[in-house]
């Protein structure tokens, strides 16, 4: 039987999946990736180790799972996280480690661009908020702080492009990834002059930008042989985790939004126009011609639950975060919705959408003598969801949202889904897909093979597993608490700055 093999290079792991042409997941394998934090604001990954991990997990996957079950790989589709920057020299050799999305060192560069006269045009043309995560700010940082490294660089690529380059010897970037760089004009689908100008580079520093369906790539013969890949395997350049998670959860039209809670989180909508927010709070990524994925990312999602769990809960048995966090959610049901008036601001890692303030910090508010450890637990979970809601609420200024689709290991837990439903006061749907990003990639492969006519038809093929209706009494409680949440966040702007200065 023929299958589509999808490769998702996310931040903490590489996940490879095989789907048959009816869209059914037939095999899965995962390998972890290491992140390095040489300084508090730095997050890096070693490009060679990421490459070797992808290569080895693919080899094991094909030899141990695909070939023995008599599947033939027809197409390979790539996906990866956004915003990584890796300088390479003219021989394609990486100059140091890649800076990944969570790398915050370019704060100052981002602020300067944001305050400059170019900011508005750059946001309007590229659709990417100007922030330390954006390759626009990161490349500027390298230029200002590592002039030698900048001089040696002949290209700035993402980790995904590096892996594809290693496999195929070609530099290509898909429109989705390009539209996450702050350098790509999403209206004209070409590199944005203003961004290039302020960075002092030209478009030769970037790979050729192509449609997510582009299939001109060919694996190097030696690698195809080492992997046991059929000679004529088709390679689709694919898209990014953000776009594909949205597609893979079945969201493509007005009225729908997807909420993703993994290590970080996001609220996203799909539409045929991008959102031009006056306050530059939302991103806009190209999935395909006339399909934009827009929304806002939060830094403080699963990572906050993991933080709470590892510091305030004692684990007798050493096990995985997923189990631990699932346990947390169960314990949280011991407390009423609204945590009896205990409120948590989750800004442990500063915040992106909607406040875009790297100096924001977390806080528990309203503690009284009756609050117990379990109240803090529930308040922590609710605080994370309030933050997600604060993004969704502003998105509603631009798009109608009637129903929410959840993706990511934490959002998909039933208890989390029901809190989300109550906080938003909206219907929440859980799909039966476990790997939404890989599923989204598989849908691209299926569209390419003609199984579906277009993205819309592909998105419709996603089935729901369960639906959560909101409890409107709880929604009332949450509305009142959220009001205080918003006011506190606004009020504490100056105090965030002051306390941040004491944390170096």
């Amino acid at each position: 039987m023929d299958c589509i093999l999808t490769i998702d290079i996310s931040t903490s792991s590489v996940k490879v999946c095989a789907y048959d042409f009816s869209g059914k997941l037939v095999a899965f394998r995962k390998a972890s990736l290491s992140i390095f934090y040489p300084n508090p604001d730095y997050s890096e990954q070693d490009p060679e180790h990421v490459y070797v991990t992808v290569l080895f997990v693919l080899r094991d996957f094909i030899n141990e799972q695909i070939l023995p079950s008599n599947y033939k790989i027809e197409t390979i589709v790539f996906s990866a996280s956004m915003h990584s920057v890796l300088p390479v020299n003219n021989k394609g050799v990486p100059i140091g480690n890649a800076m990944i999305w969570s790398d915050n060192r370019a704060k100052k560069e981002a602020d300067l661009i944001k305050e400059s006269e170019y900011a508005n045009q750059i946001y309007q043309n590229t659709g990417t908020p100007i922030h330390a995560m954006s390759p626009l700010a990161k490349i500027k940082w390298i230029k200002n702080n590592q002039p030698e490294r900048f001089k040696k660089a002949s290209k700035f690529i993402s980790l995904k492009e590096y892996i594809i380059y290693q496999f195929t010897n070609q530099y290509v970037i898909d429109y989705s990834m390009a539209s996450a760089t702050g350098f790509f004009n999403i209206k004209e689908k070409k590199w944005e002059e203003m961004s290039l100008y302020i960075s002092g580079i030209d478009s030769s520093y970037f790979s050729d930008a192509v449609s997510v369906f582009n299939s001109d790539l060919k694996f190097k013969p030696n690698i195809a042989k080492a992997l046991n890949l059929p000679k004529n395997t088709k390679v689709l350049v694919g898209s990014t985790d953000g776009c594909l998670a949205t597609l893979g959860s079945g969201v493509f039209k007005e009225g729908q939004a997807t909420i993703s809670i993994t290590y970080s989180g996001a609220v996203r909508v799909a539409g045929d126009k991008f959102i031009n927010d006056n306050d530059q709070r939302f991103f806009n990524y190209i999935l395909d011609d006339d399909i934009y994925i827009s929304g806002g990312p939060t830094n403080n999602a699963g990572v906050v639950l993991e933080w709470f769990s590892s510091h305030f809960r004692n684990h007798k048995i050493i096990h995985d975060f997923e189990d631990v966090v699932e346990g947390l959610f169960k314990e949280a049901t011991l407390v009423k919705s609204g945590s009896d008036g205990l409120l948590f601001l989750p800004y442990l890692l500063g915040e992106r959408a909607p406040i875009w303030n790297s100096n924001a910090r977390g806080s528990y508010f309203g503690i009284n003598i009756k609050h117990e450890s379990k109240h803090f637990l529930r308040a922590t979970i609710e605080g994370v969801i309030f933050e997600i809601y604060s993004i969704g609420k502003i998105l509603e200024d631009y798009r109608k949202i009637d129903q929410l689709h959840l993706t990511g290991k934490y959002a998909s837990l039933p208890i989390c889904a029901s809190i989300i439903s109550d906080v938003f006061g909206k219907k929440v749907k859980l799909s039966d897909e476990v790997e939404n990003v890989n599923k989204g990639a598989a849908l691209l492969g299926m569209i390419d093979a003609g199984v579906f006519k277009n993205i819309e038809e592909a998105a419709l093929s996603i089935n729901e597993k369960s639906v959560f209706e909101p409890n409107m009494a709880n929604n009332e409680v949450y509305k009142k608490l959220f009001n205080i949440f918003e006011r506190l966040t606004l009020k504490m702007r100056e105090e965030f700055e002051l306390i941040e200065q004491l944390q170096h």
Binding site: L227, I318, D320
Partner: protein
């Protein structure tokens, strides 16, 4: 409580065990000035506190020590109380002669029943961490009590029994150290620590047993958890790290293939080249040529 003080060369009671330098039970009832000044420690010393609260300083760091805590003082460390005397309370001192604890190796001597490879693993945990304070280590106190009984009672087999108890002290200390280090930690966190250690010592001939001891898990559980989390068996993961490191050296330096091979933990350049070709599809030479 009976106080006692056995010293090597002076006390007949401990003469059957040359590895014991001192075994004493001390009760402090009055503060005596200058009774415990800062001084250089000579042998490896365990102190188990049974009563009171002490402020002891080891190499410029002051620790608050409570009953059931164990303090370890290494040869050449500067040890004492900053105010120069013992606070009121009680503790037991056990000073042991360990031939060697350099290079993270523990070498107990012929009397020990712990095999040499296990001593090495234990050394990795105990010496590498150079921990001074192990809090709440009641088991240690229980072993000391049994030792005291055996040494006093001289019942049949007491000689071997005491040797076993000293072995047990090392075993329990190792276990306690890796447990406190990893207690409450979720596997990804301990994995991260090990990952760092592997990267820093990529040429070291790692074994799974060694990795498991560092994490504080049994080999079987360790291998299973490692595989679930990382996607690779421990030794395969190590090979991934070695190959990635080798690729970087091939691309960025002019080191010879043999140097790269040995520097990244392969037996020989031949072993390196075959493994490299098999796993990546290219010979190391080709990667270098394209650099």
């Amino acid at each position: 409580m009976n106080q006692f003080s056995y010293l090597k060369g002076k006390s007949q009671e401990i003469s059957p065990w040359p590895q014991i330098v001192e075994f004493s039970k001390v009760k402090v009832q009055t503060l005596k000035a200058n009774s415990f000044l800062m001084h250089e420690n000579t042998e490896f010393k365990f102190i188990y506190v049974t009563d009171g609260k002490y402020y002891w300083t080891i190499d410029n760091q002051t620790y608050t020590v409570f009953p059931n805590d164990v303090v370890m003082i290494w040869p050449n460390q500067i040890f004492g109380s900053l105010n120069g005397s013992f606070e009121i309370g009680a503790f037991t001192v056990l000073t042991l002669d360990i031939t060697n604890c350099k290079d993270n190796e523990l070498n107990l001597g012929d009397w020990s029943n712990i095999c040499v490879t296990e001593q090495k693993l234990m050394g990795n945990v105990i010496c590498q961490k150079m921990k001074s304070l192990i809090p709440n280590f009641k088991k240690f106190g229980e072993i000391l009590q049994k030792m005291e009984y055996e040494i006093m009672a001289n019942e049949i087999g007491y000689n071997a029994k005491v040797n076993n108890l000293i072995d047990d002290i090392w075993i329990q200390t190792t276990r306690q150290l890796s447990n406190t280090e990893n207690k409450g930690r979720i596997f990804p966190q301990t994995f991260h620590k090990l990952d760092q250690l592997l990267r820093e010592n990529i040429a070291h001939p790692w074994t799974v047993e060694e990795m498991a001891t560092i994490i504080g898990l049994g080999t079987t559980t360790f291998t299973e958890k490692f595989k679930t989390f990382s996607g690779f068996a421990p030794l395969n993961y190590l090979i991934n790290l070695r190959i990635s490191e080798a690729i970087k050296l091939l691309k960025n330096t002019d080191q010879s293939l043999t140097d790269i091979a040995l520097g990244t933990g392969f037996y020989s350049s031949q072993h390196f080249s075959t493994t490299f070709k098999k796993l990546t599809g290219f010979t190391p030479g080709l990667i270098r040529k394209n650099k």
